[in-house]
């Protein structure tokens, strides 16, 4: 990016960018433009930073390569990953690189009441039901020529699954209360944090729909599996805060170590929340490990002035959050016990069978570097098959 004023127009602030545009360069220019707007909200900044695929870990590089390959095709893509890993970011990137001219539309199938989902997706005609005062265009029509992301597809009710399957087969939708099929040219991406194979086994998800959607599967790794990226993500978020909100904080090496050691059950979204929280409580200076919120800060260490003891609330259900904490505790115990399950069970004060069951449920392996004969590697028949 070059900033200059021309001889003819010495007052003008001109940025010069070369085609093809680099997203980072364009982002830098837009950042400067928006910096003039005091009303621009901090959260928007962080959201945009997190809306980029940040990270150079092997798994993120693999995701980028996969996106480049799948984007130009019209194949349906199933994006799987835990909550907060950035499945929608991946979907947006697929759309951006696809060259499709229409809109990108994201629908959270789990957030819309069952009765409204059909109307939301396919629209309705006037008088189709009691509250249908006028015609409404559905999200599929809005995404015509573009891409639709069906997020949390595992939560879609069975009745809608049948209708969606028909749309995928016939490439036509029918508004609720309508009789005319409307052709739509929509690329369909689906995302879920759930194990759809399990749902199929329990007959909660249609197998034929799964295979229609799962033409190309993409797995977004949890943050704990790409810990090399944590420092880069933190730097990115802090840099945004510094540039645009004069929040100038840095982290001590110990604080950064705590962040990289933490398992992040809420993934990147949780990390964004933590950085946001730190920037509110501390606008300048150095953040030490003691300044970090629980559960990243070890129990018993002091909190920031005015901070109430709390856990980070992320966009997950209580059940998911508790599962995340449980996973984190089990991993910690296994690390401390060098992978010896019986010792880890003692640390957690649960029975060995209970721990093995939980490890199997959460697919947690014992530590691969575990040493010693009683280390839980291949010698223990009770352990998950991955061990």
């Amino acid at each position: 990016m070059v900033t200059e004023a021309t001889t003819a127009h010495p007052w003008a602030k001109i940025y010069r960018l070369k085609q093809p545009l680099q997203i980072d360069e364009l982002g830098d220019v837009l950042d400067e433009i928006w910096a003039q707007h005091s009303s621009h909200r901090r959260q928007n900044r962080i959201d945009r930073a997190s809306a980029r695929l940040v990270g150079q870990s092997p798994s993120m590089q693999a995701i980028r390569r996969a996106i480049e390959k799948v984007a130009p095709s019209n194949a349906n893509v199933m994006i799987r990953g835990e909550s907060g890993t950035g499945k929608e970011v991946v979907a947006r990137e697929i759309h951006r690189q696809s060259g499709r001219r229409g809109e990108f539309v994201a629908v959270n199938c789990g957030a819309i009441p069952d009765k409204l989902l059909e109307s939301e997706l396919f629209g309705h005609e006037r008088g189709a039901f009691t509250d249908a005062a006028g015609r409404r265009i559905g999200e599929f029509e809005r995404a015509d020529g573009g891409t639709i992301l069906l997020d949390e597809i595992g939560d879609m009710p069975a009745s809608m699954q049948v209708k969606l399957l028909r749309v995928l087969q016939e490439r036509c939708i029918e508004r609720v209360g309508g009789t005319t099929p409307i052709p739509v040219d929509v690329r369909v991406l689906a995302a879920t944090h759930r194990d759809l194979h399990q749902l199929i086994d329990r007959e909660e998800f249609r197998e034929d729909l799964f295979y229609r959607l799962n033409v190309i599967p993409l797995e977004v790794p949890p943050l704990r599996d790409r810990k090399d990226d944590i420092e880069r993500l933190v730097d990115e978020f802090l840099s945004r805060l510094r540039d645009e909100h004069r929040v100038s904080i840095s982290l001590t090496a110990d604080a950064m170590r705590r962040l990289t050691d933490y398992d992040w059950p809420g993934n990147v979204r949780e990390l964004v929340n933590v950085i946001e929280r730190l920037s509110v409580l501390k606008t300048h200076g150095t953040v030490s490990a003691n300044d970090l919120p629980p559960p990243i800060r070890p129990v018993g260490e002091t909190a920031l002035p005015g901070e109430q003891p709390s856990i980070q609330l992320v966009d997950t259900s209580l059940k998911q959050h508790l599962a995340g904490i449980e996973i984190s505790l089990i991993r910690t115990a296994l690390t401390q016990s060098n992978g010896v399950v019986a010792r880890a069970a003692e640390l957690l004060r649960v029975g060995r069978t209970t721990l093995v069951e939980k490890m199997r449920r959460y697919d947690i392996p014992a530590q691969p570097e575990a040493a010693g004969e009683d280390a839980a590697t291949s010698t223990d028949p009770d352990l998950p098959s991955k061990l």
């Binding site: 021309t6 003819a8 127009h9 007052w11 003008a12 602030k13 001109i14 940025y15 010069r16 960018l17 070369k18 085609q19 093809p20 545009l21 997203i23 364009l26 982002g27 220019v29 837009l30 400067e32 433009i33 928006w34 003039q36 707007h37 005091s38 009303s39 928007n44 959201d47 945009r48 809306a51 947006r92 951006r96 060259g99 001219r101």
Partner: protein, 92 residues
């Protein structure tokens, strides 16, 4: 200048001779969280803006130097602080 702009004023104007190319650019800028991006051509850009002050103007590589010069001059009359982003082909 010096006034704080409202959200309604955060319009980015893309001036281009070829709308197909501009649509891709529009999409890219929107992806970067811009609330409103309008595409127009060199002869209609003032009409397209109406009374609004744009947050920035993008001039694509399809705009000739003389057109660009005119637009920059006219823009200075509206507000000399409006940033201008000029796109050029790689190697220019």
């Amino acid at each position: 200048m010096g006034e704080t702009l409202s959200t309604a004023d955060r319009v980015i104007l893309v001036i281009d001779e070829r709308t197909d190319r501009a649509s891709a650019l529009k999409e890219m800028i929107e992806f970067m969280d811009a609330p409103e991006v309008r595409v127009t051509n060199p002869s209609e850009w003032r009409v397209s803006l109406g009374a609004q002050r744009p947050a920035a103007i993008f001039l694509t590589e399809t705009i000739s130097e003389s057109h660009a010069d005119t637009i920059v001059s006219e823009l200075g009359e509206i507000d000399p602080n409006i940033p201008i982003v000029m796109l050029s082909d790689d190697g220019d």
